[in-house]
Symmetry: C2
């Protein structure tokens, strides 16, 4: 089955101590979540640690028997939280990114669009000065306290998140189709045939020069 759904039951009993849970139902305490982050994302960033908490709590609010896709509203950190815990990736198309700059993500029924959206809620940050400072950029990075920030994230848990039931708009439910493939007469590479007779790269979008 080339897809995924929400796990039916905890794979391990230590649910209360878990920081996050993956799509197989495996729980990770905070320290292991930091390891997951380092292994995939390169470092245990605040955004990724909060992100895996967000994904976990959205999954817990979804029915077990549906197939879900993911949408992130920022390119920063959150796509990696989704890719760490679920099978939704950028490359398989089950994770989409709409870069609105909001620290929010939605998991939704891939066929009819209903789902749960979560965001890091500024209204819930009053008790967490270091999270506020980091998230709202109240001080330059050099003046922030990364140790205290991690401590606050660990203590705050999901109390800083807000959830809403949503339905994704129809364009996000369509599978993108590339259509027929042609060989570009200029570069000789394959590309999705369009009306212009050349690939987009040869039409001026090449991001590089040859050496």
């Amino acid at each position: 089955m080339k897809t995924w759904s929400i796990p039916k039951a905890p794979a391990r009993a230590s649910r209360e101590k878990a920081w996050c849970r993956d799509h197989r139902g495996r729980d990770y305490p905070f320290d292991q979540a930091m390891d997951l982050a380092r292994k995939f994302h390169g470092h245990a960033s605040p955004g990724l640690l909060i992100g895996v908490k967000m994904v976990t709590h959205v999954m817990a609010r979804l029915p077990e028997d549906r197939l879900f896709d993911a949408l992130c509203e920022t390119r920063s950190c959150l796509p990696d939280a989704v890719q760490t815990l679920t099978l939704c990736t950028v490359g398989n198309g089950w994770l989409k990114i709409l870069d609105l700059g909001r620290f929010a993500l939605t998991l939704y029924d891939k066929y009819e669009g209903s789902g749960v959206r979560v965001f890091l809620d500024p209204k819930k940050l009053h008790a967490w000065p270091e999270i506020s400072t980091w998230f709202l950029k109240l001080k330059p990075k050099e003046a922030q306290d990364p140790v205290r920030l991690l401590e606050e994230i660990r203590e705050a848990r999901e109390s800083i998140l807000s959830f809403m039931a949503v339905r994704l708009n129809p364009p996000y439910l369509l599978k993108r189709k590339k259509g027929p493939i042609k060989i570009c007469p200029r570069c000789g590479e394959a590309y999705p045939a369009g009306p212009d007779g050349l690939c987009k790269g040869c039409l001026g979008e090449n991001p590089f020069e040859r050496l």
Copy 2:
């Protein structure tokens, strides 16, 4: 060190049997590469299996002592090949996607832009009818032979790839900066401050309706 570079030496001796190698220098035979693909991408797609071969051979052509970023010229499969084998991800910003629809990727020096680009070369597919059929969409998916396709990919190895030395254009070398953060007066969420006084979502780009 919050970054990565090319591994200096093979971590294992079985280099000739390896299908791909990750950024730590760990080799994976074909079957293990299929497992890597299933675990991250959900299935061992032809594009991902060719993609990890592409990443591996580009890494082998790069100097060992530099820091590299990645650029994919398609959203399909290749971003996951990069994310499987390197520490370049969408969420940490070291992997960029410019969706030109070409099955090509570049790893490049993140500071001065020189690097190696690889693409699946239509001119090298004459001996591989099933790869041609899949890549150039010569038959509908139902009429393709997935078993023969995997066999051809495994036999063809890197013979179907072409490489070029490139330098990324300056805009791709800039780190994106979000600037100051504001709270949107309509939705109450944090967003990168712009001239409009509302976040992009409240300006009409919301991908969802609330339920």
